[in-house]
Structure formats: structure tokens, C-alpha cells
């Protein structure tokens, strides 16, 4: 035991020193081109200072630009950039449509499962006649639909849309991604029906039966093809920070998903460690990089200003990779697993503060200089709210992993609230914003109703506050009650009731918001909204119609 610890400490030390040496070498040899120039690769010449948000109605966009500062006339050079970008958007149009439209369907389905499951916790005698509608089946159905249906598909769709823009090329091999979307959808649909019918692999986040796993691996691999092909065809020297996250997510997810689903690799306690290594990494190394890639692209793009500090984004990326990959075992604190391994996870959970501060500073400082633009741009409002909740969720997660805090929160609804702060508050908000930005670029039409965008924002924002705070407080009280041997277990159950009801109310508001959003997007995809005057900007007078027709 002592030898094992000594070995691990020595190994950790050597690896850290090795990593540091590698970093110094890379810096000395200019492997990282940092600074303003690199951060500006997502902008065309003279484009900095120019706001952009296709979800803002044309008139309001003019207003928004005045707020940001007037610009001189567009140069001819700029026109070429816009035309190239319009071509890029056109090339990714169909795969993006497929992945995003599917994700919206799953968002609605998953939310409805979630609301029913939530209601059942305070109405236990409702909908009990059918096994498919029991809480223990709806809950995994909710989780898998929102994780693999909504979150993953939205993230892949947004990723595919960013690829040609990041690599300044057309999307190569887009039809692979269309096929991938079809197979992925079949996988999620069959998997969900299987869970409702009672066929589950039994481990959280890994419930889908093996044929579904094969479908997701195939669909995901097909979606990865255009990323690789476009990467090879790239016409940029420097890879922008969003591309790092996309590339890393591309390699991480298949590694995780395949390992996690390998049959009978382990049993018993060993399996629980694999389970939570997988489950937390799906959040940390799949959804988080996709969400951060989007935030790193859209925030600077909308405010027309490069990211606050490009050097910080580098630290943020590698620190996230190093620390996030080892936090999984904090789900087993106090469990029958080796304490030193759990401690490694706790240490890394706390170290997550490093990338979180780096990323947060970058996002918040970029917005803070132009915060009044939040009044005009729906995309910016969603993405900024998401980025703020990323900071909150991450700091909360670090605290929650400490043994003293974890003793209270571990088996309670507090954890559920925290999980939603991450996947919903951060990730889903960023994806909402990204989709508001992307859809007009796909269709060449504005969003039909700015009012519906506002309704969506306030419903999900207020709904989430009503969801999050009561559940957090209720979960904490539940934990305190369970820790007190003088109070019967019953108390920890009964005291949560009002908080669980509040959660159902919040969840219902969020679901109504999703229905408005999905319906609105449906109309937008059918081109109901007013035609956009030009693909990139209200102010340039380019004579070449909408981005795509």
C-alpha cells in the first residue's frame, strides 16, 4: 500500500516535470502562436469591431453596432471573406440541419420524460399501472435522451457548422455526417424504447443495451469523418482554440464510450470505478469541450473583439484535459474503493479551479467590455448566461468534492441540482445561443419572431432558477437530516416534498420554453421568417444575396 502510494507520487512528479519540460520546449520552438494575431483567426481583415448576430433583427443590429462603435465602409477584401464564409456555411448546411433538427426533437422528448419523473417523486401513485411509466425507467430515459439525443446531437451539429469556418475551407465529406445523424437517431430511439421496456445495462450513463452502443459508435464515427477531412483540407496555419476542443472531444468520446461499454471488462467494485470514470468524463471531456468550443467562437464573434487573453485559453485547455480526466471517483467518496484513488479524484476536482478561472476570465472579460450588447443580441444573452453558469457549476463541483461537503450532499437531490447547473445551465444555454446564431445562416431567413426568442429565454432562465435553488436547498437539508442519527430516515424524505414540487414547477416552465424554441426553430427551418438582407452584416453593401437559398 505504502509502496503503491510512493510509486504514484513519484510517477506524478516525474510526469509533471516531463510535461513542464515539453511545454517549455514547445514555447521555445514557437509551437504555440499566441496573442492577438492568433486570437483573430476567426475574423476577416478589418472585421474586428464589427458586431454580428443573425438572431438580432436587422434594425436592432444597426442599433447594436452603434452601441459597439461605428465602423468605416467595408473593404473589397472583406467582401471576399464574407463570400468565402457564405460558401463554407453552404457546404455544412445539410449535416448541420440534420443534427440540430434531431437534437431539438430529443430536447422536447427528454424534457417531457424529466417532468413526468419529477412529478412522480411527489405524486407516487400517479401513472403506476404501466411498468414503462415507472420512475425507475423514466429517469434513465430522461438522462439518456437529453445526454445522447439533445446535448450530443446539438454539440455535434454546432461543431460541424464551426469546422469550415475554423479551417477556412468548405466542409469535406458532409454526407458522412448526414448518414451519421440517421444512425445516431435510430440508436437513441431504439435505446430509449429499450429502457422503457426494461432492457437496461444497469449502470448510470451506460444504460443503453449493446446494439445501441454499436449504433452510436458508428453514427459518431461517421460524424467525425468531415472533421478529419476538413482538417486535412484546412487553409489556416493557426488552429483556433475552438478547434482544439473539437479535436480533443473527437478523440475522447470514442475512447470513453467504447471502454465504458466493453462487456464484462470488470465486475463488482472495479466496475463502479470504470462507471464513474466514464460518466464524469462524458460531462468533462465530451459535453464541456463542445460547449466551450462554441462559447469561444460565438462570444468574440458577436461582440466583434478577439478573446481577452489567448494565452489563458491555452492554459485552460490543457489544464482541463489533465484535471477533468481524473475527477470521476468523487462519485464514490465513502464507498468501498481504495481511498487513495478517491483522493486523487478529489485533488483533481479542486485543481479544476485552474482551467475554470482561465476560461471564465476569458469569456467574462470579453463580454464585460461590451456588456451593453447583451441588450440586443439573443445569442450573446444565452451564451453569456451559459458561460456564467459554467463558472458557478465548476466552482460548486470543486467544493462538492471535498469530503466535508460531500458527506452532506453525496446521496441527495443537491447532486441532481448540480448536474443540471452544468448540463443545463451551462451547456444547454450555450447550445441554445449557438442555434439562434446558426439557423439564420443556414436558411437565409431571420427568426420569425423575436418575441418567441424572448419568451424562450425568460421561461428557461426563470424556470431554471425555480428548479435549481429549491432543489439545492432541499437536497442540503435532506443531507443534514440523513447525517443526524437522532432523526429517523423518514424525515429526510418528507422534508423534501415542497422542494420537489418547486422542481416540477421549474421543470415545467423550462419544458414550455423548449416547446416554444423547437416550434420556432421548425418554422425558421421552413423559411417562414423575413428574408435576411445579406449574409454577414447589415452595414456592408455586398451584392450577393443571402448566405444560402
Amino acid at each position: 500500500m505504502t509502496t503503491a502510494i510512493a510509486f504514484l507520487l513519484a510517477a506524478t512528479f516525474l510526469i509533471s516535470v516531463g510535461g513542464l519540460a515539453l511545454l517549455i520546449w514547445a514555447l521555445a520552438n514557437d509551437q504555440f502562436t499566441l496573442g492577438e494575431r492568433a486570437a483573430s483567426t476567426i475574423f476577416g481583415p478589418d472585421e474586428i469591431g464589427q458586431v454580428e448576430d443573425p438572431a438580432t433583427p436587422t434594425a436592432a443590429l444597426a442599433e447594436m453596432q452603434r452601441e459597439r462603435g461605428e465602423l468605416e465602409e467595408a473593404s473589397a477584401q472583406q467582401t471576399t471573406v464574407f463570400e468565402a464564409r457564405a460558401e463554407a456555411d453552404k457546404s455544412s448546411g445539410w449535416p448541420v440541419r440534420w443534427w440540430l433538427a434531431s437534437s431539438l426533437v430529443w430536447l422536447v422528448v427528454g424534457s417531457i420524460f424529466g417532468v413526468i419523473a419529477s412529478l412522480k417523486l411527489h405524486m407516487p401513485d400517479w401513472l403506476i399501472e404501466d411498468a414503462a411509466m415507472t420512475f425507475g425507467r423514466l429517469r434513465p430515459a430522461h438522462l439518456n435522451v437529453v445526454a445522447y439525443g439533445w446535448a450530443s446531437m446539438a454539440g455535434v451539429g454546432v461543431g460541424i457548422w464551426m469546422i469550415p469556418r475554423l479551417f477556412r475551407t468548405e466542409l469535406v465529406g458532409g454526407h458522412f455526417a448526414v448518414a451519421g445523424a440517421a444512425i445516431w437517431n435510430i440508436g437513441v430511439a431504439v435505446g430509449t424504447l429499450a429502457l422503457l421496456a426494461g432492457f437496461s445495462d444497469g449502470m448510470e450513463w451506460l444504460e443503453f443495451p449493446w446494439p445501441v452502443d454499436i449504433a452510436l459508435v458508428t453514427g459518431g464515427a461517421l460524424a467525425g469523418v468531415p472533421l478529419v477531412l476538413s482538417l486535412l483540407a484546412r487553409r489556416v496555419q493557426h488552429l483556433y482554440v475552438s478547434a482544439w476542443y473539437l479535436l480533443a472531444a473527437l478523440i475522447w468520446f470514442p475512447m470513453l464510450f467504447v471502454t465504458g461499454n466493453l462487456p464484462s471488462l470488470f465486475g463488482g467494485v472495479e466496475q463502479s470505478m470504470l462507471n464513474w470514470w466514464y460518466a464524469h468524463n462524458v460531462l468533462g471531456l465530451w459535453l464541456t469541450p463542445l460547449g466551450l468550443a462554441a462559447a469561444y467562437y460565438f462570444i468574440p464573434k458577436i461582440v466583434g473583439s478577439p478573446i481577452y487573453s489567448y494565452g489563458l485559453s491555452l492554459i485552460g485547455f490543457w489544464a482541463l484535459a489533465l484535471f477533468y480526466s481524473q475527477v470521476g471517483l468523487h462519485h464514490l467518496i465513502g464507498g468501498p474503493v481504495p481511498t487513495w484513488a478517491v483522493t486523487i479524484s478529489i485533488v483533481h476536482s479542486v485543481m479544476m479551479v485552474v482551467p475554470v478561472i482561465a476560461v471564465s476570465l476569458n469569456h467574462h472579460m470579453t463580454v464585460a467590455n461590451h456588456w451593453r450588447l447583451l441588450l440586443y443580441s439573443p445569442t450573446l444573452r444565452f451564451v453569456t448566461a451559459g458561460a456564467m453558469m459554467y463558472t458557478m457549476a465548476s466552482v460548486q463541483g470543486s467544493l462538492e468534492s471535498l469530503r466535508a461537503v460531500n458527506a452532506v450532499t453525496h446521496f441527495t437531490h443537491y447532486t441532481v441540482a448540480h448536474a443540471h447547473l452544468g448540463v443545463y445551465g451551462f451547456y444547454s444555454f450555450v447550445m441554445f445561443g449557438a442555434i439562434y446564431f446558426i439557423l439564420p445562416r443556414l436558411t437565409g431567413h431571420e427568426w420569425p419572431s423575436p418575441r418567441a426568442i424572448g419568451a424562450h429565454f425568460w421561461l428557461v432562465f426563470l424556470g431554471f432558477i425555480i428548479y435549481f435553488w429549491p432543489l439545492t436547498i432541499g437536497g442540503w437539508l435532506q443531507g443534514l437530516a440523513m447525517l443526524d442519527p437522532a432523526r429517523p430516515f423518514m424525515e429526510s424524505v418528507t422534508l423534501t416534498e415542497p422542494y420537489l414540487i418547486a422542481r416540477s414547477v421549474g421543470g415545467t416552465l423550462m419544458t414550455i420554453g423548449h416547446l416554444i424554441f423547437a416550434g420556432h426553430a421548425w418554422f425558421a427551418l421552413y423559411g417562414v421568417g423575413p428574408l435576411r438582407e445579406d449574409p454577414a452584416l447589415f452595414r456592408s453593401r455586398i451584392a450577393h444575396g443571402p448566405a444560402t437559398t
Partner: protein
């Protein structure tokens, strides 16, 4: 950064390293520790079937199976049993350690509720035995009959929950599930309770 391959390779290496640290290394260490202790018997065939019902109905989403060390909570005082050790799970695949205690820990439920009758009544409608319970009722695991057949297991119900006529009998899934619960007993003595968990708790 300019090298895509560097990013991808670096990212992959880091993840492999993480798997080595928090999955492979502890598993290697546990290889001897997770041998079944003397007191642990494999599940009977019926209980193994019942375990599948437990998985299929998602009991794990509200019930943990891992009593913790006294320093982390009064699990022992609540009668949930001694802290569990890796060997206790030697026959468990998939593992069902759980992460929620919306309901109580079940690793030693057979000791607290050893009666098949009680378990069946509770499954039919938990509120028939504990008014405050928020556990779902599972009527689909039972059948309503005018008269019990010779092999039927009849569920004992208080008047408020009993049908007006006839009897409620348990289906095969209910019998199997209850058998699994009745075999959840890890109260046999074990050599080493991991005291390391005690030293560092609460710091």
C-alpha cells in the same frame, strides 16, 4: 497551436493516463481484496433473476447499496450494516452501488425486513405499510384474482388497499425480486474493514 496531431495525441495520452490512475491501478490493487469473503454466498438462480428485475425497474436510482464508514454518516446506527468492503460485491455485475438515497440503503435489507409478506405488501403499495413513503407502487407486478390458485402467493393487504372482492397475488417477477431482496445480507464478519477511509474523513 498549429499541430492537430499534437493536440489529438496529447489529449488521448492524458485520458489513458487518467484511466491508468483511477481505474486500472486501483483495480490491480483490489484483485485480492475483491475475492468473495467466506460468509458470502452466490445469489440463488431465483435471486439472480430478481436482480435483473431490480435493474430493469431502476431501483438503483433511489437506493444505494454501500453502507458507509461511521465517520461519514450514521449508516450503521440506522441498521444499514457495517461499512461494505470490495469483497461484498464479488458476485455483482453490473454493480449497483448507487448514488442516491431517496430511499434507504439496501445492501442489508434482508436483515431488517426478512419477511416475504412484508416485502410483497410494500411493493404492491409502499404507502400501505409506511404512509410517508414516496416510493412508486408496483401494481403491474401483481395480479387480481377472484380466488387464489394453489400455487399462488397471496399478498396481505390492509383493508384500505385490498380489493373489494378477490385477492391480489404476486407475479413471478415480484417473487424473484423479493427473493433477491431476501438475499441481500452482508452482515457476515470480514477481516479488514478499510480503516483508511476513517483517517481522512471529514478533513
Amino acid at each position: 497551436m498549429t499541430r492537430a496531431l499534437g493536440i489529438v495525441a496529447g489529449a488521448a495520452m492524458i485520458l489513458l493516463f487518467a484511466a491508468l490512475m483511477i481505474v486500472v491501478m486501483p483495480s490491480v490493487q483490489l484483485q485480492s481484496a475483491s475475492q468473495p469473503p467466506e460468509g458470502l454466498k452466490p445469489y440463488s438462480p431465483l435471486a439472480a433473476e430478481g436482480r435483473q428485475v431490480y435493474i430493469s425497474l431502476g431501483c438503483v436510482y433511489c437506493h444505494s447499496q454501500q453502507p458507509r464508514d461511521p465517520s461519514l454518516g450514521p449508516d450503521y446506527e440506522r441498521g444499514w450494516g457495517r461499512p461494505s468492503v470490495p469483497g461484498d460485491y464479488a458476485y455483482d455485475s453490473p454493480h449497483l452501488l448507487g448514488t442516491m438515497r431517496t430511499g434507504p440503503d439496501l445492501l442489508n435489507i434482508a436483515v431488517r425486513q426478512p419477511s416475504q409478506d412484508w416485502q410483497l405488501t410494500h411493493l404492491y403499495n409502499p404507502r400501505s405499510v409506511m404512509a410517508w413513503s414516496i416510493m412508486p407502487a408496483y401494481p403491474f407486478l401483481f395480479e387480481h384474482r377472484d380466488e387464489a390458485l394453489p400455487d399462488d402467493v397471496v399478498v396481505q393487504l390492509p383493508p384500505d388497499y385490498a380489493p373489494d372482492t378477490g385477492v391480489i397475488v404476486a407475479k413471478a417477477d415480484a417473487i424473484a425480486l423479493v427473493q433477491y431482496l431476501l438475499e441481500l445480507d452482508r452482515t457476515y464478519p470480514v477481516d479488514a474493514i478499510p480503516t483508511a477511509a476513517v483517517d481522512t474523513a471529514g478533513d
